[in-house]
Amino acid sequence: MSAVAAEASTGRYETIRIADPVARPTKIAAKEVYVHYGAKEALHHVSIDIPAQAVTAFIGPSGCGKSTFLRCFNRMNDTIENCRVDGVLDMEGEDLNDHSLDVVLLRARVGMVFQKPNPFPKSIFENIAYGPRIHGVAQDKAHLQEIVETSLKKAGLWEEVKDRLNEPGTGLSGGQQQRLCIARAIAVSPEVILMDEPCSALDPIATAKVEELIGELRQNYTIIIVTHSMSQAQRVSQRTAYFHLGYLVEEGPTESIFNNPQEKRTKDYITGVFG
């Protein structure tokens, strides 16, 4: 803790980076990202490359800034009063943090799944159709139905709900609700899906299903997941980044982070000494 404070006052803390054994194309390159809540700096010069078609896990103790950082990728921090994000988030040549960028379109490209399943109080069909409707994706009713069906299939929920698409989404079980939310995010065909502790409100069986789904989605989407469960990070992710007190301490291939952590704090956290 004092070491970190010293680093904060003297200048910089350099993140330890370990390259992937197999080179992956970079989807988003975050450079020198700072986040301030009012006068308080919550995130300090975070730089990280998010690989395409892979799952990147953000881990770290509560309040370490991992969710805050995740919310930079689709500018959800804009909705929080007196929150300021500085730095560059380069997604294939486009800066996501550029204030002239159309946030509404960005969020269609970078979808998000939240900690608590949050289906709208509408029917299952309407929940999925919401995104395509507001973005004008569907040409006609048949197309919309097709989008709903494919989204639900991709989220592995179609078989369970195909006979009750007109029932309220809130009537599903927690795990089904979360997969509904994933389907809802998929429906606008994003390139990146952000997941903020997507399984923390689910039981182990529902968690297993969502994790399995994440494994499948990785083929087509770039996924960033914030998780408190070390074993989940190990199971689903290819790369892991460890955050501590607003610093990105260490990032590298998941296996190497968990089997051979370079930093003492990373090691303490993943072995359960604290956090």
Binding site: N74, T79, V103, F114, F120, P121, G131
Partner: protein
């Protein structure tokens, strides 16, 4: 002065009883060398309760039944011819009571009245002494009984809890029973009215012309509810047309757009509107708004009366705005933040989120708020008394003077009225109608609001 002394004495006695209970529990604990079940406070309180409640019950019973008993005893002093005639009996009894209280009575006082008054004085004196003694004895007995039960095992804390629960139940019972009582009395008076006027003529009559009760002869006039009801409905509609859009949009702005600082300042400011007495709105309507509209009407070549359904409705709408906005604001704020996040996360804009997610989610609650606002508008009196023109005619033109149910109640009950005439009894029938309308609205509103609440829990 006397009452003050009595209250002071009672308080002193009760505090002594409390001290006695508390100290007894301490000494019991000390002498037995054990820990009491409850803290001394509870033993003290329990003694107070045992002292006060039985005594209070005895006193209440006394005040309920004593006057009847004493009166029946005095009745024996009256000669048979006076006692036999109800009217004479009542007047004799009131004369006797005045004599006994030392006010004296007009005219000649017959011997029997003087005797009865003397008897009444002494009876009262005895009864008062007796009841004071009885209350004291009951209090002491209650205290001693509670004192005898104090012991380490005695769960005074739980008993006091029970007493608190009983107190709370009593309070809510008072609230409910009062409502029931009001309804019943209004109902019985309304039924009396319907012995004069056929309910069908009342509920479906289109002419309101009750005449004055003093006119006597020329029939009893027409009591048609419809012109009044229509006036109420028209003004309510106009008021809601003003209050709902403005109130709802203000609520949306406050809960979704406004910054914390602006919200902090403007919400109380808006609620100040609700604190303005309605009579102030009334003369605001009468003096400012009415002439303003009639001026505009004249400029446009329209005949707009200064006091009209329009004026009253607009001003009433302004009055209801904070009511609608405050309730809607609460309901919109209750929609979980995760709903907004979900919608923003899909790339919806703020107004899309409000229209497609937040309002549908909050709709039942908002409808409930509207119905509550309607029932306020229906029952509102002062503004319409001053600004609606008080002209009970059936008209579809909002720029004409109308009258409402509430205004008519005021008219029928003010001034010199004979409470047995249909002219004033009709007020109860009107009140009952109004009550049933607002009751139905409230029941529907509460049902909707409740259903909405269950959605997120």
């Amino acid at each position: 002065m006397n009452t003050l002394i009595v209250i002071a004495v009672i308080l002193i006695v009760l505090s002594l009883v409390y001290q006695w209970g508390a100290s007894t529990s301490r000494s019991v604990a000390r002498s037995a060398g054990v820990k009491m079940h409850s803290r001394p406070v509870y033993y003290g309180l329990l003694l107070v309760l045992w002292c006060a409640i039985p005594a209070a019950v005895v006193y209440v019973l006394y005040s309920l039944f004593a006057p009847t008993i004493i009166n029946s005893m005095i009745l024996s002093y009256l000669p048979a011819d006076v006692a036999g005639d109800p009217q004479a009996r009542v007047s004799a009894m009131s004369r006797i009571q005045n004599l006994a209280s030392g006010f004296g009575a007009l005219g000649d006082v017959p011997d029997y009245e003087r005797q009865a008054a003397r008897a009444l004085t002494s009876l009262r004196w005895t009864a008062n002494l007796a009841i004071v003694a009885l209350v004291a004895v009951v209090g002491v007995l209650g205290t001693l009984f509670a004192r005898s039960r104090i012991g380490p095992e005695y769960r005074a804390r739980n008993r006091v809890e029970w007493a608190i629960k009983a107190l709370l139940i009593t309070c809510s019972a008072i609230a409910i029973l009062t409502t029931v009582g009001i309804v019943l009395s209004v109902l019985s008076e309304a039924l009396r009215f319907f012995t004069f006027v056929n309910p069908i003529d009342f509920f479906f009559g289109t002419v309101w012309n009750p005449r004055f009760s003093s006119t006597g002869s020329g029939g009893q006039g027409d009591f048609g509810l419809l012109p009044l009801l229509w006036g109420t409905i028209m003004i309510t509609i106009i008021a809601m047309l003003v209050a709902v859009p403005v109130g709802l949009m203000a609520a949306i702005y406050l809960s979704e757009y406004a910054g914390a600082k602006f919200r902090f300042i403007s919400k109380p400011l808006l609620e100040v509107l609700a604190g303005i007495p309605t009579i102030v709105y009334g003369f605001f309507a009468l003096v400012t708004v009415g002439p303003f509209f009639s001026g505009i009407g004249a400029a446009l070549g329209l005949d707009v009366q200064a006091t009209s359904a329009f004026t009253a409705g607009i001003v009433m709408g302004i009055m209801i705005i904070p009511f609608v906005s405050s309730l809607s604001d609460d309901i919109i704020s209750q929609v979980p933040q995760t709903m907004r996040d979900g919608s923003y996360g899909l790339g919806a804009t703020r107004s899309e989120t409000i229209r497609k997610v937040i309002l549908p989610a909050a709709l039942p609650g908002i409808v409930g708020a509207f119905l509550l606002a309607v029932s306020r508008a229906v029952g509102e009196t002062m503004i319409v008394v001053l600004a609606a023109g008080n002209s009970p005619v059936l008209t579809a033109n909002p720029f004409e003077a109308v009258s409402t149910v509430t205004v008519t109640i005021v008219n029928q009950l003010t001034g010199d009225t004979d409470f047995a005439s249909p002219q004033s009894l009709v007020a109860f029938a009107l009140g009952l109608t109004l009550f049933v309308i607002t009751l139905c609205l409230n029941v529907v509103a509460i049902y909707i609001v409740k259903k909405y609440r269950e959605q997120y829990e």
